[in-house]
């Protein structure tokens, strides 16, 4: 077993091409932000009924995936799985990059992003949103320290274990906070539930692992490095478990809602009559994001079927975006039940399902966030020694040598 | 030789420049009404802090006539345009813009606040107990015009 060698990425034309592609998306997002700043949110599809739209779907996906990407290195440091240790550095950097990408989208969609500095020192501590802002910025600091313990010489294993534990607990708090942004809203039938926090934790495991594997596959193929099939297989199986966990929490959430008489109307709408939301739930979230990846990831020959792993990870990401669309937009589209037992109508869309047509501006902002995250990760890979060069099966786990 | 010549030229230019300074500073339009008792210098330096502090008093504590409301500032400092109507924030001759454009410090008060007086600064915001005073004054002024 060799020592793992980390080396910066070489600037090949492929790498440049990918960075340029990401740069183009980031530029498009920049244009979109300037346009919305000039003309107001009226140029987007968001309105007074659907206040959070496609940008928020992407932002929340990135933030949830960021927390899950850190999990990859936590598995190595906190849970002691040797095979995951070589990829810990990359996982840490990816976690920060994804978070920054998500935050960028969130902040740039504000009605008054010019007031961001003021928002950093004017806090309302009863707001879970305010707590989240602190958790997000703290996360970046904690992960930076964690990365230092991974990369610096002379750091004792005890210190590293302690820091990694703090990071792991921090990310659990962060994701619980993100889920509670929705779970603590009593107003809306779709959200008002304690299960949102554990659901988001499960989602973070799943999306984070999927994003990490996609980035790992892309990086190793672009830089002609090895992605240990053994590690890849273990991660694939673990991703399968995470996907199952997400399906479990979704099942419990909806079953509980169906049982509660006051939530039955919402459930029958989202599961049967919700149009695009029903489609995205069953086909996007459950089928594409759940069942098909499960079938692929638990295939007996997954260790040789590289393509299945790539496809499964991609489908999990797509399914995740669909899931967040159903949660964020679907939850707002269903009318508020202000007068239980009455049919309601007004000039302010009371009693009717709200309509939302996302515009290209919103899509470009969301994709720009993803591109920004990938760009930042790419830059880090170029200038820091975080990607292992010799991640072969032999070097991943000494136990395997005995096979 | 050339170096010395150029340095003398530069020094001469620097010495002469201050005399242009008066034309470089903005021409601040005079306000109507009584001058601030604290003096213009005080207000020039402290108006950002005072505005920010007083707006909190008004919005959060409901105290409406701290010194003057923003609407009353707007009324005294209104600048008449070519049609004798006060110019809005759109015009570079607007009172606040004269200095703020010069200093390149953007203000966004008037994205929300109305930038011209419309009489409401008197009757719209004063407590009712003092509105009788306004009525008396208005009557006096209408009479004075005859």
């Amino acid at each position: 077993m060799q020592r793992i060698i980390y080396r910066e990425l070489r600037s090949t034309p492929k790498v440049w091409g990918l960075m340029a592609l990401c740069g183009a998306f980031v530029a498009a997002a920049g244009f979109s932000v300037l346009y919305v700043e000039e003309y107001g949110h009226i140029v987007t599809g968001m309105n007074n009924q659907i206040v959070w739209g496609l940008p928020h779907v992407f932002a929340i996906f990135l933030i949830v995936a960021a927390s899950g990407a850190l999990n990859v290195s936590s598995i190595g440091s906190v849970f002691g799985k040797m095979a995951y240790k070589p990829v810990a550095r990359l996982a840490n950097v990816l976690a920060v990059a994804l978070l920054v990408g998500g935050l960028a989208v969130l902040v740039l969609d504000l009605g008054r992003p010019d007031r961001l500095i003021m928002a950093m020192y004017t806090y309302n501590f009863t707001s879970i949103f305010a707590w989240n802002i602190l958790l997000y910025t703290g996360f970046i600091g904690v992960v930076a320290v964690y990365l230092y313990t991974l990369m610096a010489r002379g750091v004792s294993p005890r210190t590293q274990k302690m820091v990694s534990l703090v990071a792991f607990l921090w990310r659990l708090a962060l994701t619980t906070g993100t889920g509670s942004i929705f779970g603590w809203l009593v107003a809306r039938t779709a959200y008002d539930s304690a299960i949102m926090a554990p659901l988001f934790i499960a989602m973070s495991f799943s999306f984070g692992m999927a994003m990490f594997m996609l980035v790992m596959i892309l990086t190793t193929s672009v830089s002609n490095r090895v992605y240990s099939p053994e590690l890849r297989t273990r991660q694939a199986r673990l991703l399968g478990v995470f996907v199952a966990a997400v399906l479990y929490f979704v099942l419990v959430h909806h079953l509980s809602n169906i049982y509660l008489a006051k939530k039955t109307a919402y459930e029958s709408w989202i599961l049967l009559n919700g149009g695009i939301y029903t489609l995205l739930f069953w086909v996007g979230q459950v089928l594409i994001g759940g069942i098909i990846p499960l079938v692929l990831l638990f295939h007996p020959k997954i260790d040789v079927k590289k393509g299945y792993v790539l496809l499964a990870a991609l489908l999990v990401v797509i399914g995740g975006l669909a899931q967040l669309y159903v949660i964020v937009v679907g939850g707002q589209a269903f009318p508020l039940d202000i007068f239980p037992g009455f049919e309601v109508s007004s000039s302010f869309s009371d009693g009717v399902v709200a309509s939302y047509r996302p515009t290209l501006l919103e899509l470009s902002l969301g994709l720009g966030g993803v591109a920004l995250a990938l760009m930042l990760a790419g830059l880090a890979m170029k200038f820091l020694r975080i990607v292992p060069e010799n991640l072969t099966d032999d070097n991943v786990d000494p136990v395997l040598l005995t096979d | 030789m050339i170096r010395r010549f150029i340095s003398v030229l530069v020094m001469a230019a620097l010495l002469v420049t201050p005399s242009y300074a008066e034309e470089l500073l903005p021409d601040i339009p005079k306000a109507t009404g009584e001058p601030h008792p604290e003096g213009n210098e005080y207000w020039r330096i402290n108006h950002p802090t005072l505005l920010r502090h007083d707006r909190d008093l008004t919005v959060i504590d409901g105290i409406r006539d701290v010194n003057a409301s923003l609407a009353q500032c707007v009324a005294c400092h209104a600048v008449k345009g070519p049609d004798s109507a006060p110019v809005t924030y759109e015009s570079p001759e607007y009172f606040c813009r004269v200095c703020h454009d010069f200093a390149a410090v953007q203000i966004n008060c008037f994205e929300c606040h109305k930038s011209v007086p419309d009489g409401a600064e008197l009757t719209g915001l004063l407590p009712l107990s003092r509105q009788d005073e306004m009525a008396t004054l208005q009557a006096y002024i209408d009479g004075a015009g005859q």
Binding site: G40, I42, N47, V51, L110, G111, L116, M118, A119, Y123, T126, S127, F129, A130, W184, L185, A187, Q332, I338, G341, E343, S346, S347, F348, D350, S355 | D27, K30, T32, G33, E34, V59, I60, G62, V66, N67, A68, A71, Q72, C76, K80, V98, E111, C112, K114, P117, A120, E121, L122, G124, L125, P127, S129, Q131, E133, M134, L137, Q138, I141, G145
Partner: protein, 249 residues
């Protein structure tokens, strides 16, 4: 560079000076006594101590074809709803039909000025806040436009300003990128009008479906009404202790 017209302000005749509208803002009544000028005899108005402003709305007196309250609020506060999903609506008329009995009803819905407002809890900067006298409003100086309060409100009371605003009312500053909603005509309350634009309009039509007053003042009409006749809160199950109460829904 041309001189701005008001450069000559200090030199015009006293008569012209007094006639110009702006001069009213500060006039010397006597040497050393300036009306309404800076510092001077300004007393802190502040809030009525111990007050809790609220509304009582009798849905039985509210006809389905009347929206005087909506028009009055719109005219007073300077917002317009032309039917677009992005247009603001601080107060709206809601038509109800009982699913079981078929009985129809109509009533206005606006910010309910909760005692435990979810919008205040969730605002990250504290821009959405509750004044000491119970009025829940948005401090637009601090609002960053995140719209989380709009997600949190059980009554959909808030609107987001989706486009640049021009020609605002002086008493109601509003601008793009911030969130707004019914503020119980806080400017009218602070100057002692003792009513809101919607209640004023409803009274003027003769329907008298809306009443405004201090819920904490046992002598006020509204306190006497709610302690005598049955009234209810919307979404009472949420336990938010609303400042707006309804009768005969």
């Amino acid at each position: 560079m041309t001189m701005p017209a008001s450069e000559k302000g200090a030199e015009i005749s006293r008569r012209d000076f007094l006639k110009s509208g702006a001069a009213l803002a500060s006039v010397t009544l006597a040497p050393g006594v300036t009306l309404m000028a800076f510092g001077g005899n300004a007393s802190a108005d502040g809030l009525k101590p111990g007050a809790r402003w609220g509304l009582l709305i009798d849905a039985a007196k509210c006809p389905s074809d009347c929206s005087a309250c909506v028009s009055a609020c719109s005219a007073e506060q300077g917002w317009e709803n032309n039917g677009l999903d992005t247009d603001p609506q601080w107060i709206r008329k809601v038509t109800l039909r009982d699913k079981k009995t078929g009985r129809e009803n109509s009533l206005p819905v606006m910010c309910q000025h909760c005692d435990e407002p979810p919008c205040v809890d969730v605002c990250p900067t504290g821009a959405s806040f509750k004044r000491e006298d119970g009025i829940v409003l948005v401090n637009r100086h601090t609002c960053i436009g995140c719209r989380y309060c709009m997600m949190a409100c059980p009554f959909k009371a808030r609107s987001f300003v989706h486009e640049p605003v021009t020609n605002q009312k002086t008493i109601s500053p509003r601008g793009m990128g911030t969130v707004e909603g019914c503020n119980l005509c806080v400017h009218k309350i602070d100057r002692g009008d003792g009513t809101t634009a919607c209640v004023e309009a409803c009274t003027a039509t003769g329907h008298n479906a809306m009443m405004f007053g201090d819920l904490n003042d046992p002598e006020s009409e509204i306190a006497k009404a709610v302690s005598t006749y049955a009234s209810q809160e919307l979404r009472a199950d949420l336990g938010l202790n609303l400042g707006v109460r309804y009768q005969n829904i």
